[in-house]
């Protein structure tokens, strides 16, 4: 495995100087980022925004997962892609864009859909999982895997003029994604709440993706984030951000399966 780095090079001090000068960031914080491993599931609207900031900020190892190809209807909001990208895999295209931005980091690409067969291989070893996917089945799968494997998950989603953000890192206290929305897997009608069926204001992926990147950086820098015990509801119509207090749900299937596996 990679050993952690404990010094920045001159060009890194130069490149990251504007963030290192922040009081609660500093060289120590920058080294934390350099020694971090983050996986981004979904390289569409949210994923490409988050990835650009994390790559730009110097996260040491990024992995990108997306089995979809770029479509013309993605271009209004997925700013890492241009017309030449149409028909090409999103994670491959995004990697090339990110390397042009910063070749000081390592990027791994997985041009496959995440599923129960490859999830162990693709998510293991990361310090943080960022859910930027576009469907409930994958969201539930990622949540379940992260809770079972005790890997922190920051989940973001958008639709229309609305966004949602939460961090699942202490599910026993503050609950997981399933604790919050319970029974989503049974709600096939709800499986339609995606950009392709409900529509989206392109700028909302910028708003919510930027919040996700901002709080992911705070988490990796070991700075407090309200998202570990709250869900943020972002309203693009009124500019209101509602922070609601989460709690573990004693009837959550995911959390209770962990408990029972610990007992046996």
């Amino acid at each position: 495995m990679n050993s952690s780095v404990n010094k920045l090079r001159d060009n890194e001090f130069n490149r990251y100087s504007r963030q290192i000068m922040l009081n609660d960031w500093g060289e120590e914080g920058q080294l934390r980022l350099k020694n971090s491993r983050v996986v981004i599931v979904g390289c569409g609207g949210l994923g490409s925004v988050v990835a650009s900031y994390l790559a730009g900020c110097g996260i040491g190892q990024l992995s990108l997962i997306d089995g979809d190809d770029v479509e013309l209807s993605n271009l209004p909001r997925q700013l890492s892609f241009d017309m030449d990208s149409v028909g090409l895999n999103k994670s491959d295209e995004l990697m090339q864009r990110l390397y042009a931005q910063n070749d000081d980091i390592d990027i791994t690409v997985n041009p496959d859909q995440l599923d129960k067969f490859n999830i162990d291989e693709l998510l293991t070893g990361n310090d943080l999982v960022l859910d930027c996917t576009d469907n409930f089945d994958t969201r539930l799968l990622i949540n379940q895997w992260c809770v079972m494997n005790v890997v922190p998950l920051m989940s973001a989603s958008v639709i229309g003029w609305q966004g949602q953000l939460l961090l699942v890192d202490k599910p026993a206290e503050h609950g997981c994604y399933e604790c919050l929305f319970g029974g989503l897997s049974d709600q096939k009608a709800n499986a339609q709440q995606s950009c392709s069926t409900m529509g989206i204001n392109p700028a909302m992926v910028g708003v919510v993706g930027s919040y996700q990147a901002n709080q992911a950086l705070r988490y990796l820098l070991k700075l407090p984030t309200p998202l570990s015990n709250k869900i943020a509801l972002v309203d693009g119509m009124t500019m209101a951000v509602n922070l609601l207090n989460r709690q573990a749900n004693s009837q959550c299937d995911v959390c209770s399966s962990i408990k029972s596996s610990l007992i046996t």
Binding site: G42, G44, G45, L46, G47, D131, C132, T133, D134, N135, F136, R139, A156, S157, V158, I159, Q162, G163, Q164, G175, C179, L180, F181, G182, G183, L184, Q187, A189, N190, A191, Q193, S194, C195, M198, I200, V205, I231, L233, A240, N242, L243, L244, N245, R246, Q247, N249, S250, Q251
Partner: protein, 74 residues
């Protein structure tokens, strides 16, 4: 306060609802709004209330209720 006066509940900072019954619960509000309970989440005064507690969670005059569903777009 006076038992005869209706209690006032604000839903999603937009809908004002009045109830004569002082035992109004989260479940009553959802039924009144004809919201399918399915995959919705509810917060009262910014605290999320687990689904199994909706029927027991009695609302007070002036409570703010947030009702929202999961969204999947990315």
């Amino acid at each position: 306060m006076n038992d005869k006066l209706p209690i006032k509940i604000m839903v999603n900072q937009a809908i004002e609802m009045n109830f004569i019954d002082h035992q109004t619960t989260v479940k009553t509000v959802l039924n009144e709004l004809k919201i399918d309970n399915g995959s919705m989440a509810v917060a009262v005064n910014n605290d999320i209330i687990p689904k199994q507690d909706w029927e027991q969670c009695v609302l007070n005059d002036g409570d703010n209720v947030n009702v929202f569903g999961a969204i999947a777009g990315g």
